[in-house]
């Protein structure tokens, strides 16, 4: 009976976590749009809620109430499944992030590897879904997405593997100590700056932010992979993109910026409450700083052509990631 009550309480916690993660994803989208507006000398969202903070939620509700249109011959049930599966995957990934503590709700030895595996699976959804529509625009968008995936996945994997090599661990609760680590007197974060740049570019390509939004280039291929999405499907795929931005930034914070580590000021007797809140504060602050950096880059650079993106990742970013691995090997060999 006690275990049943415990399981029920745990289910309530997970339900609350799901709601909070989705709401935080909406906040992240609002932050991105607001900052992008400032960069482009626009106002950005401002009407719904204080300073327009509820605009993404309003957009979600609006899309959920709109008619669902799809071409004849679409695999309806499988598109519906992938829409739910993608969002679910991101929420499961958020359970691994060390937000309130030095470890996530899911935590075991080697969980960082599992986290990266889930992140790789998430990208496949963007390639599979458009192929389920018998329309040329999603097909071209999916092809571009696959080319982009091939280009950024390998350098990003090498960059994140560099962190694992330096920390000699694949566990999130140990990786977050990177800012406190030094290699032969040099802070490890400085040695890993190329890996940080590669990962940042990889996350931007993964969430299809400018200048890497070629799979959905509106002016070229009519929104590409999402051309045939509408109604609740579009709402869920937009939510998936927001969650990817949030979780991708959280992964950068976890691997490079110390996760929830930061100054903690507590009152005696209230440590049980204040310490997790401070951890959550530092993790969220760092995550939104990463989102701000992504926004500034997105707002400053025009969209690349497909050949320019592939050129960038295969000829510049991949060698940079390889150089990063060589640097680490040399530093440890000396």
């Amino acid at each position: 009976m006690t275990s049943l009550i415990d399981a029920a309480i745990f289910a309530g916690v997970i339900a609350l976590w799901t709601a909070c993660t989705i709401f935080l994803a909406f906040i992240a989208e609002w932050f991105y749009r607001k900052m992008m507006g400032h960069i482009q000398h626009r106002v950005g969202p401002k009407l719904t809620g204080p300073v327009g903070i509820l605009q993404p939620l309003a957009d979600f509700i609006k899309l959920m109430s709109k008619e669902q249109i799809s071409p004849r011959g679409t695999d309806e049930s499988f598109v519906d499944f992938l829409a739910i599966f993608g969002v679910w995957l991101m929420i499961i990934m958020s359970l691994f992030l060390p937000i309130f503590s030095t470890h996530g709700i899911f935590s075991f030895h080697g969980d960082a590897i599992f986290l990266l595996s889930l992140f790789a699976v998430g990208s496949i959804i963007y390639i599979v879904t458009p192929y389920l529509f018998p329309s040329p625009y999603p097909t071209i968008g999916a092809g571009r997405r696959a080319e982009l995936y091939l280009a950024y996945e390998i350098p990003m994997f090498l960059a994140l593997a560099s962190v694992l090599f330096v920390m000699r661990s694949a566990t999130v609760s140990e990786i977050i100590a990177l800012p406190l680590t030094s290699i032969r007197g040099v802070p490890a974060v400085i040695i890993l700056i190329p890996a940080l740049i590669v990962t940042l570019l990889g996350v931007m390509a993964r969430v299809k932010k400018l200048p890497f939004d070629i799979p959905e280039a509106e002016t070229e291929i009519a929104s590409g992979w999402e051309a045939e999405l509408s109604g609740r499907r579009l709402a869920f795929f937009n939510l998936l993109t927001d969650l990817k931005l949030l979780v991708g930034s959280g992964i950068i914070v976890t691997f490079f910026l110390g996760g929830p580590l930061g100054p903690v000021f507590v009152v005696e007797g209230l440590e049980w409450l204040l310490v997790p809140l401070w951890r959550c504060f530092w993790f969220t602050l760092k995550t939104f700083i990463v989102i701000l950096i992504i926004t500034i880059i997105s707002g400053s650079v025009a969209r690349f052509r497909i050949d320019q993106v592939l050129n960038l990742f295969w000829r510049k970013v991949l060698p940079l990631a390889v150089v990063q691995v060589i640097i680490i090997v040399v530093v440890y060999a000396l």
């Binding site: 399981a7 745990f10 997970i14 339900a15 799901t18 899309l63 959920m64 109430s65 709109k66 008619e67 669902q68 249109i69 799809s70 071409p71 004849r72 695999d75 499988f78 519906d80 739910i84 679910w88 929420i91 499961i92 030095t102 709700i105 899911f106 935590s107 075991f108 030895h109 080697g110 969980d111 590897i113 599992f114 990266l116 595996s117 699976v121 496949i124 390639i127 599979v128 192929y131 389920l132 018998p134 329309s135 040329p136 625009y137 097909t139 071209i140 092809g143 696959a146 080319e147 995936y149 091939l150 996945e153 566990t171 609760s173 140990e174 406190l180 009519a222 051309a227 109604g231 609740r232």
Partner: protein
């Protein structure tokens, strides 16, 4: 600094996996269900799209993407091989899920794209 590593029980893990999926399924079901399959506007559904020439064979990108995904997961499994550790079992489950996903999507994919 000391770090604590927790191990969730099977029940908690199952709850954490099932509850978000059920919640999302409920939210998704609240959306408007009525569908329209015909339309006359350009670029929206209802059209019988003509065959489109694509300047490359997209199926190769599809297969290579899956290959890279499996490759990464298999490398992870090799790195983490130390008996039946939780991470090994978890990556094994992901690998099997990804392969099932590939098999399920292969049929509509071949029908809709390769013959296009």
């Amino acid at each position: 600094m000391t770090y604590r590593v927790i191990h969730l029980g099977l029940v908690e893990a199952a709850v954490a996996i099932i509850v978000p999926f059920v919640l999302l399924w409920i939210i998704y079901s609240l959306g408007k269900v009525s569908k329209r399959e015909t339309g006359r506007e350009p670029y929206v559904s209802g059209h019988q799209f003509p065959s489109t020439w694509i300047p490359y064979r997209p199926e190769w990108l599809y297969y290579i993407s899956y290959f890279i995904l499996w490759d990464i997961i298999v490398i992870f499994m090799l790195f983490t091989w130390s008996g039946f550790s939780p991470v090994f079992m978890a990556t094994l489950i992901i690998l099997i899920s990804a392969m099932l996903l590939a098999v399920i999507t292969l049929l509509p994919y071949r029908r809709r794209v390769i013959r296009k």
